[in-house]
Subunit: 147 residues, 2 copies
């Protein structure tokens, strides 16, 4: 073996969640897992033009929905612009830079006391997501440089 990092077996992952293996699903899931970051349906669609020129936008959306429903990826809706898809399935939250629009992960050291609040109003929490807006390091530096 030339490299220690094992490539994920995408067809096997798809089968494991009961999804049929198609070239479209294979390519889209592979791309999301490879790139690790957050990407929109349109970004995925445009990236695929090279390898799958006949891929339709509907298929991108259908695939992303299937992958999300199966729990293989996570959909992040910040309300501004398109949904972003994330291969990182660990529970984490997001900070978005209002300048460059880039999305950054963050992990909470201690979980906030939502359970207490939820119990008071008898709300059954399924999931929660902390959305932070602000300015990233790079954009802060850029603003200082301009001054």
């Amino acid at each position: 073996m030339d490299h220690d990092i094992k490539e994920p077996d995408i067809p096997e992952i798809l089968k494991s969640v009961g999804l049929r293996v198609t070239p479209q699903r294979d390519a889209i899931l592979r791309h999301i897992i490879d790139r690790k970051g957050h990407m929109s349906a349109d970004q995925i669609y445009r990236f695929m033009q090279g390898s799958l020129p006949n891929l339709s936008v509907s298929t991108v959306y259908n695939t992303l929905k299937s992958l999300s429903d199966a729990g293989l990826i996570r959909e992040i809706k910040f309300g501004d612009g398109a949904s972003l898809f994330d291969a990182n399935r660990e529970p984490h939250h997001h900070m978005v830079c209002t300048v460059c629009k880039e999305l950054f992960d963050f992990y909470l050291l201690a979980t906030p006391d939502l359970t207490q609040i939820a119990q008071q109003v008898h709300f059954h929490i399924e999931e929660y997501h902390i959305q932070v807006k602000g300015i990233c390091d790079a954009c802060q530096r850029r603003m200082i440089d301009v001054k």
Copy 2:
């Protein structure tokens, strides 16, 4: 005086933030403040049909933007469906019921340790919002009844 609760002086509020007083702005801000809850641009537009039948959808959007920019109302984007507008300017977060889609306020007892995390990655936090998804009390009861 017949009532102790003083009606808010809407024109005065608009002037105080440097906005011109128009019948459209007066009516929209009054409605949002009166109803207290969360409402979409379309809900506001439809409500206004009675009193301002010539009101245009653009004006609703423009007004909501002006009011938000002025800090008189807050826009909440959950990513599903339309933006909702909130007259409640106190810092608070939201729980949405996945069954009935109703939005509930909640107030955090202790602020989560976001500042530490932000300092580590040198992110300048402007605002944050905790979005909780789950099932509200009423819908939980309804589900038990059906069983």
